[in-house]
C-alpha cells in the first residue's frame, strides 16, 4: 500500500511543567520524507514526539496530517504510530498474542505476523512471554507492532537505542522500505539513524 499523507506543523510551542522547550516550531514532511530530531537531553525531543502523537497538549500551534480522503471526523491519531521508551509489552503474554492483539486494535493484518517477525529477527521468540525478552528483543517486538499497523507517520523515540548491529541494520531496512512506500518518519536520535539520510531538526535550549 502506498501512503499519501503529509504532515504540516505551524508555530508549535511546547512546555514541560514551567519550562518552555520550544516555540515557533514549524516544519512539514511530504510522503517518503524523514526527519531526525537532535539536541541534548531535556530539550524537548520526546515532548515534541508526544505532541505530534496527540498525547501531549502543546501550548500553541497547529499539527495537521492531511491525506486525500480526509474528512472532518478523522483525527491525526488514525494515521500515526508512536514508539516511545515504554514499549507496551505485557510480561505474562506470549509475543505472538500481543502482536495479534495490537493488530486487531490498529486494524492491521494478523496473518502478516510471521513475516514481519521474521524481517525483524524475532520469529523464534514469538511463543515466549514478553517478560523473558531482552531489551533489544522487546524493541524489535515493538517495531513489529509498528509495521503491522500500516500507518503513514512513524514517531520514534531513540528507536535504535537497545538494538545490536544486526538490529540496527534491520531497523534501517524497515525505515527505508516505509519511506519507499510513501511513509514518513520522525525520530529522536543521538547518533546518525540507520537507513537513508534524514533531514535534521536541532532542538534549541530555551532554559
Amino acid at each position: 500500500m502506498r501512503h499519501a499523507a503529509r504532515l504540516q506543523v505551524d508555530g508549535l510551542a511546547l512546555a514541560r511543567g514551567q519550562r518552555l522547550l520550544a516555540r515557533d516550531l514549524s516544519f512539514g514532511l511530504a510522503p517518503g520524507e524523514a526527519l531526525e530530531l537532535r539536541g541534548p537531553n531535556g530539550t524537548g525531543k520526546t515532548t515534541l514526539l508526544r505532541a505530534l502523537a496527540g498525547l501531549h497538549q502543546p501550548l500553541a500551534g497547529r499539527i495537521r496530517l492531511d491525506w486525500p480522503q480526509r474528512t472532518d471526523d478523522d483525527s491525526n491519531a488514525d494515521r500515526l504510530m508512536f514508539l516511545g521508551h515504554l514499549d507496551a509489552i505485557k510480561p505474562a503474554e506470549p509475543a505472538r498474542a500481543q502482536l495479534s492483539f495490537w493488530a486487531a486494535l490498529f486494524g492491521g493484518d494478523a496473518s502478516r505476523i510471521p513475516d514481519v517477525a521474521g524481517s525483524l529477527g524475532i520469529a523464534g521468540q514469538l511463543d515466549l512471554p514478553g517478560g523473558v525478552l531482552s531489551a533489544g528483543q522487546r524493541r524489535r517486538l515493538a517495531l513489529a507492532r509498528l509495521v503491522l499497523a500500516n500507518r503513514p507517520l512513524w514517531l520514534l523515540d531513540e528507536p535504535a537505542a537497545p538494538l545490536d548491529t544486526a538490529g540496527r541494520a534491520m531497523l534501517g531496512a524497515l525505515l527505508d522500505r516505509h519511506r519507499a512506500e510513501g511513509g514518513m518518519v520522525i525520530a529522536a536520535v543521538h547518533d546518525t539513524p540507520p537507513g537513508a539520510p534524514m533531514q535534521r531538526l536541532e532542538m534549541d535550549t530555551w532554559a
Partner: protein, 225 residues
Amino acid sequence: MGLRSALSALALREVRLGWGAGGGAFLPAAFFAGAVAVAPFAVGPDPARLGAIGPGYLWLALALATLVSLERLFQADLEDGTADQLLLTGVPLPLAVAAKVAGQWVSVALPLLLVVPIAAILVRVEPGKTLLLAGQLAVGSLALFQIGAIGAALGAGIKRGGLLVSLVALPLYVPVLIFGAASAEALMRDGTVLSQPFLFVCALMLASVALAPVAAAAALKLHID
C-alpha cells in the same frame, strides 16, 4: 477497522491476562472466601444471628473483594505504555474502558461468584436460596466494577494508590450496598427475587454501565501527558 473486533480483543485480553500467570484474577475470590470464613469467629457461631446478618455480610464482602482488584485495572497500562498506544488506536476511550472493565469483571467476578454458594452456607443462608443470591450478587458486582473503575482511573497515576482507590470508590459504592443488602433481605424473608430493592440494583447497574466508562476515560486521560 472493525470496532467490534477491537473491543472484543480488548475484553478477551483482559480475561487472558487476568487468568494467566501473575494475573491475580483469583485473588478477590480468595479474599471474598476468607472474609466470609472469618465472619463466624467475629460475630459468634449462633446460626440465628449469622443467618440474620449473613446475606448483608456477603454484599459487604463482595464490595471489599472488588476493591482488591481495582488498583491494577489501569495502573499497569499506564506504566508500560499500553494506555498511550490505546489512545492511538482510534477506538473511543470510553468504549475501550468499558471493554476492559467488562473483561476484568468476567475474569474476577466469575471465580468469585463460583465461591458464593459455599460462602453462603458458611453464613447460614438457606441452601435453596444461594443460587438466587449469587445471581443478585452478580448484577451488583457489575455495578461495583463499573463504579470502582472511576476510582481506579483517578488513582492510576499514583504509586501504591490502592488505598486511595478504595477511599474514592467506597462512598460511591453506598447506594449499591444499601439496595443490595435490602434485596438480599427480601429474598431471605419471602423469596422474592425481583423485589423493589433489587430492581434498584439493576437500575444502578445499567446506569453505571452507561456512565462510568465515560467518567473513567476522562479520569484516565488526566494521567497522559
